[in-house]
Symmetry: C2
């Protein structure tokens, strides 16, 4: 039987799954994040699978994804065989880095187009500048969110 808090936790986890989905991440990744925001962990591999009721395959895929984008880290416990996972320090700066990479890519596309098109196409060049400026502006304004951390 579930109390109010359990329901709230479940809702939060589920909603973070949806937020992740809106950000282009798999829903399960968001749920893993949600779980780890609520509870300190670290969580073992199989805890994640049973707690979120998803296959071990999905846990494997999604933990690796979250690892790769810097949200969680894999840790081990002395004497324990299983992998454990927990949220990293400063986990969200890397999300901004991901955004920046996509913006960088978009900038390059615009830049390439500018150079490949005739300079006489003045209006096209202008609109390309406008689009490129938009991407650059976003990059610049989100730059401060990337605080420098201890790079090991």
């Amino acid at each position: 039987m579930e109390n109010n808090t359990d329901v709230a936790v479940e809702q939060f986890i589920e909603q973070l799954g949806l937020v992740a989905q809106a950000d282009g991440l798999p829903r399960i990744s968001g749920r893993i994040m949600g779980l780890m925001v609520i509870y300190s962990g670290p969580f073992s591999f199989s805890e994640l699978a049973s707690r979120l009721k998803v296959s071990r395959g999905s846990i494997s895929t999604n933990t690796r994804l979250l690892e790769s984008i810097g949200i969680i880290e894999r840790v081990t416990k002395p004497g324990k065989r299983q992998d454990y996972f927990r949220i990293r320090e400063n986990p969200y700066t890397d999300l901004v880095k991901g955004l920046q990479m996509r913006l960088e890519n978009a900038c390059k596309i615009v830049e390439t187009a500018k150079q490949s098109l005739p300079g006489e196409w003045v209006e096209a060049q202008e609109r390309l500048d406008e689009l490129g400026g938009f991407y650059k502006g976003l990059m610049k304004s989100t730059q401060p969110m990337i605080k420098d951390q201890n790079h090991k």
Copy 2:
């Protein structure tokens, strides 16, 4: 037979389709944008369909989408029956508005969780604050990109 410029245009349109996809928009929406960044337009409904080689149904759906998020506008020409479309002035500020709305939503989810969970869960509250702070930070840093425009 295609010259270099045609190829460049085609590539740009296609790549903007992919950028749109990465942003959670349908690919065709990106292609419509790309076309309109290169050529002044306005484009008639059927021009879009034939030029991009997609069905009229798709044009209808995607032009309405782009209209709704403020990227393009529908215009008419005197004596002409068809709808025409072109890129709006300041089209990209509304993209930021869309981002802000998603961030706002995420903030609410975090806020709701904070209030529904026991205050004794100190670490959870901290991590929620961290997450919420991240969303708020992004909102604040992108705020300046929304320049005020003439609201008709």
